[in-house]
Amino acid sequence: MKDKGLKEKILHFILNGNFGFTLVSIILGLAVGAIILQITGFNAFEAYKIMIQGVFSRPNYIAWTIVRSTPIIITGLSVAFAFKTGLFNIGAEGQFIIGAITAAAVGYFVKLPAVLHIPLVILAAITAAGFWGAIAGYLKAKFGVHEVISTIMLNWIALYLNNYIVRIEGFRRPLNERSYAIQQSASIVVLEEWKRSEAGRAWLLNHEFWRDVFRTPLNLGIVFAIVLAIIVWFILNKTTLGYELKAVGYNKHAAEYGGINVSKSMLVSMSIAGALAGLAGALHVMGDSKSIASLAAMEGYGFDGIAVALIGGNTPLGVLLGGLLFGGLKYGGSKIQPTLGAPSEVISIVIGTIVFFIAMPKLIKMVMKLTTKNRGAKNVE
């Protein structure tokens, strides 16, 4: 009996909780993607098979998926954190850029042993991007400037700042629109030196699995992402600060009446969100790109983070899973272009559709009610 109760609880959780909505939305999104592929003359079944194989069939594919998911998991955490405190952080994009610039500069100009260098780079990036986020928080608290508009402006300022800094003599790589690569001591790529060394190559020659894995810039970023998810969960659910921030997000006036300093909360919340997105940028530089490039347009890490936060229902665990799903779809989706000739942009449509349905719990509730009603009727018979 007890077992059955648990089972029912799980079923109830899946059907009625946010998780259920999300799951149904994901299925609908994938279905819409399949229909679009089929209509435009591609074999949808084949396309999804290629995507799944493109993520899981080889160790290095899995590693790539993890590497690609890491930044958007962390920007997702940034957006989700701000959402929980009643702020909409469109600025993750710019905060990411600021974190990346700082990491690239501190990673290149400072020379320290890795034990000190890595924490220093991270600390610098968090501080800079936290400050960048705080600007929006300050403008909102002090002048009532809507954070959506201020962060959009700050994104562009960050982009042009990036392009300016990349071009500074001494930082810019000659004949290149890129900065110099960071020092080896600032890298978080797993066993980077060893895998290029004589001994490493000899060992890898006999270990096919690891050889395949280490062909990617697999890095510690994912560990950071998991730890950050736990920290965000802890701050929001187990600390007074988190309680206050959420209270402000839930009802500003009630929170103020209850003695919470609303202005300070907005500032703190945007600083933390900024620091998170900045850390995403820093880890991306330290683990994958190694340098920053001149940007012609937004890269989308922040905007993807918004989608990840929404898919993840703004909970840390959800963001982690949502980020992996998004990263997997993007990485796996890029493979249908060369093999099938099917536009890989179908992934953007799938993601858009998922988010679209997530926006409408009312619709999904209606659909689910219909299906559960039918099931109930069957049980009666």
Binding site: V148, M153, W156, I157, Y164, E345, S348, A359, M360
Partner: protein
């Protein structure tokens, strides 16, 4: 001196145009109480459809209209979610921002041999310049007024939207629905119909905005063409306090800084400033102006809240 001024004004007008259309889209949607953060995605679809139809038909007017229709169609989805299903409007707008570029690039690859850039439209099939040849070439007035037709139409649309919102019965209804939907409903105004109309119109305008880029400012669509214009238009709309004329001035501010960047960045400019730093100015300026000069502006009261008829 005069020619420099003419050059700056001319480029300002050209760069402001796509923003003005799109910001007007934001104005009309938000005045009816629906937040439209999806302007970026709608603009992208408009830019693509404009460029593609322009390339295949050779007629810029058909292309321009098609762009509006396509974007309006995408906006319809936002309307369905936001109006009929009480969706979180910001979330549904974000979805539009993924769908718009996704669909544009997907279809582009189907029609242009796997490329995400559409093929360029020949010069004679671009938007016409109605006042071309009226003034001596490169004279002051030529530089200011010898613009693509889309530029004049944008300013006309500002006047039309202003008239519609503040001088007509429909406009009064739109604003009533945006401020207090329940009261409007009690008086027999269909909140749903008005909101559907406004959201779809906002898509049409955003589509025009995108097409005014791909059919006039440049002559094809590419993935980075819109990159953020929709968001700037959104900011301009908020900056302009949700009013058509206000949004226009805000767009002109972005345009003038853009014009200055082009002017000071060209060879032979009077003095050299880093183009990157110069490009930041409009955004920094906006932040500064928002803190002091404009004061706190507030959105239409019901903006962002879904309306349910049977709610008690």
């Amino acid at each position: 001196m005069w020619s420099s001024l003419g050059f700056i004004i001319g480029t300002t007008l050209m760069y402001s145009t796509p923003l003005i259309y799109t910001a007007l889209g934001g104005v009309i949607s938000e005045n009816s109480g629906v937040v439209n953060i999806g302007l970026e995605g709608m603009m992208t679809i408009g830019a693509f459809v404009g460029a593609a139809v322009g390339f295949y038909t050779g007629n810029p007017w058909i292309a321009f209209l098609a762009a509006g229709l396509a974007s309006g169609f995408l906006a319809l989805f936002h309307a369905i979610a936001a109006v009929s299903f009480g969706a979180d409007q910001v979330v549904s707008g974000i979805a539009i921002n993924f769908l718009g570029p996704g669909i544009a690039l997907f279809v582009s690859r189907l029609f242009f041999e796997g490329a995400t850039n559409t093929k360029p439209i020949p010069l004679e099939n671009k938007m016409p310049r109605p006042l071309n040849g009226l003034f001596p070439q490169n004279s002051f007035f030529d530089m200011i007024l010898n613009q693509y037709a889309t530029v004049f139409m944008a300013f006309a649309l500002v006047a039309i939207v202003w008239y519609l919102l503040y001088k007509t019965k429909l406009g009064l209804r739109i604003r009533a629905v945006g401020e207090h939907p329940r009261a409007a409903d009690t008086l027999g105004v269909s909140v749903y119909k008005i909101r559907y109309l406004c959201v779809v119109l906002s898509g049409v305008f955003a589509g025009f905005g995108g097409a005014s880029l791909s059919l006039a400012v440049v002559s094809n669509f590419r993935p980075t063409l819109i990159s953020g214009h929709g968001f700037i238009a959104l900011a301009a709309m908020i900056f302009g306090k949700w009013k058509p004329q206000g949004a226009m001035w805000a767009c002109l501010l972005f345009g003038v800084s853009n014009g200055l960047v082009v002017y000071l960045g060209r060879p032979g400019a009077p003095f050299q400033i880093s183009q990157q730093l110069l490009s930041m100015i409009p955004y920094v300026l906006t932040l500064i102006i928002l803190t002091g000069f404009v004061g706190r502006a507030s959105a239409p009261a019901a903006s962002g809240t879904p309306y349910e008829k049977d709610e008690r």
